[in-house]
Symmetry: C2
Subunit: 333 residues, 2 copies
């Protein structure tokens, strides 16, 4: 569990895409960020107040979160200077970088010296159990995709926000690095050892109030041959009561697999539901979440209407337009 609130370290991020972790925190958990810290070479912003480390501390920040991708997989000397100073001042550090904070001897030394924590959310910090398949109390909804990177995390975050806005009990349950940094907790499922994947998902979504929803972040796709095993563990470990099928209509092939076509939504709906029913015979598909970011507004609305007419369930872009039809469906379960 990473201590909140954060000061967001943007470093020398050249553009908005490089700062997408910081942007995700700003978009979805603005209450978790007191401000942003930028080096002189930084070429972007997430539109939070610029703060020094001292100002961040004064505003209550507990953790300096690296909200930016680093170039060449190296934590630069310029970054190090700030990170070590932050540890000395009393910040914890949190990062989703591939190269780990805990592999940097000077950061490890500084953290030890000042009694601070280094959070590398890319690697598991828990010994997860083997899944036992026992039925848990409370309700769970899982986003399953026709492909990787089609908007499963944003779908989950949008649903969670909309449910809470209605006063429903909801917790977003991250299963990837960005999601973990946004909320401060979760399971980095792609880094879990095979035998424990489904158990890690059970651990992430324990017994809860009967009217509480866990909104589980999906990963990969049951039809993405590189990562389908991770998706499978979510479908079985998550014991979902409800599935939402996520899709990006302009994708020409599966991400990273040029010879693989993106499957039809109806195919993913059917295979995901039949597999989900193994763990929860009452599971239902409640609708479709379409990532329309590459479509004009008219085109997007026409596409959603077409999907809804053809597949017979609500089809929305919960980030661009609204998540309410999906929340309506969940509220009836």
């Amino acid at each position: 569990m990473i201590q909140t609130p954060y000061l967001l370290f943007l470093g020398d991020a050249p553009d908005r895409l490089a700062a997408k972790v910081a942007q995700g925190i700003k978009d979805w958990r603005p209450e978790n960020a007191v401000g942003q810290f930028r080096l002189p070479a930084c070429g972007t912003t997430v539109d939070l107040q610029d703060m020094t480390l001292a100002e961040g501390l004064a505003a209550g920040a507990k953790t300096l979160v690296i909200g930016v991708a680093n170039r060449g997989g190296v934590i630069s000397a310029a970054w190090k200077e700030v990170l070590i100073e932050a540890l000395a001042m009393g910040y914890d550090l949190a990062s989703g970088l591939h190269n780990l904070l805990s592999d940097e001897a000077d950061l490890v030394d500084a953290a030890a010296k000042h009694g601070r924590s280094l959070h590398d959310v890319r690697i598991p910090s828990v010994d997860y159990p083997i899944a036992n398949g026992v039925k848990r109390t409370g309700k769970r909804v899982l986003a399953v995709g026709t492909d990787c990177s089609v908007g499963k995390m944003y779908t989950g975050l949008a649903l969670d926000r909309a449910m809470r806005a209605r006063g429903m009990k909801s917790t977003f349950r991250p299963t990837g690095q960005t999601g973990i940094l946004i909320t401060g907790d979760g399971v980095p499922l792609d880094a879990v050892v095979a035998d424990f994947m489904a158990g890690a998902v059970e651990y992430l979504t324990p017994d809860n109030d009967a009217d509480h929803w866990d909104v589980i972040e999906g990963q990969g796709s049951l039809h993405h041959v590189s990562y389908s095993g991770v998706t499978m563990a979510l479908v079985h470990g998550g014991q979902p009561d409800a599935l939402i099928v996520c899709h990006e209509p302009t994708r020409e092939h599966m991400r990273g697999l040029p010879t693989y076509k993106v499957p039809e939504m109806s195919v993913i709906r059917d295979v995901a539901l039949s597999l989900a029913k193994v763990a929860n015979p009452d599971c239902v598909v409640i609708g479709y979440s379409i990532n329309t970011q590459h479509m004009g507004e008219d085109e997007a609305r026409a596409y959603l209407a077409k999907v809804e007419a053809e597949l017979g369930l609500p089809a929305v872009d919960p980030f661009r337009f609204d998540a309410e039809p999906l929340v309506d469906a969940l509220a009836k379960i």
Copy 2:
């Protein structure tokens, strides 16, 4: 790659079940074992010649393989004495125990001193790639189960043996500890990090001659909620041309999951085939491998005939009776 042939260390195994790794090597790769080494307290045998370490060396053994489960997860002082002496004499050591040889300082020291290798087959020794899904040359057959521990490894080993007896090109590709020790090579798939599971299977089954069969050891079941992600990675990473459905008819529930019924063979056939076709549209199901060990002979033969009649494909117990109908089917692909 573990150097063969082996001397099989039976230690103080109380009974045959405790020595099942040694028994598997004896049953399936007798040419890999020059003899067995037993401590005075040993209560079983795998019917190989008893040898001292010196006699094993003289017979050509390169590796002392721990062919027995240890009690309480501790490598005892009595075992250590033999293992250290073996390293000093020039043996490598290989083990599939949960507690690792490489975690024992005295074994690590002795191996370093004598320039020998410690093989812990329970953990990966390779940095596997992420699966790329590119079509590979050669042919592959995968055993998929209705449950865990229904005979997938024995099915694969029996098929491999029968194919080679006919002069077909075949390689058994182990994905579990026992299989790796039997053949000396493979991927411990349950210990691979999630993102790399399918890539590990691709690595295990590379391009090969057009008429060569990789016989891939299956794991888990697509309907076993604890391990289905591992199975999924085999179905997609393995790119099978042929599937064999494995079943144990007397099982009352899924292994380790008392409230989960074992699925019908036809259900696993359909879900496995539809998922396998994502990676290889030409994949076919060629038959059923039934583990009849808990049935009398008449009962077993009647059951096989019934499955064959109902499901319309060959149904055999390839270990107890014969694998030929499955090999006939593979020979036609």
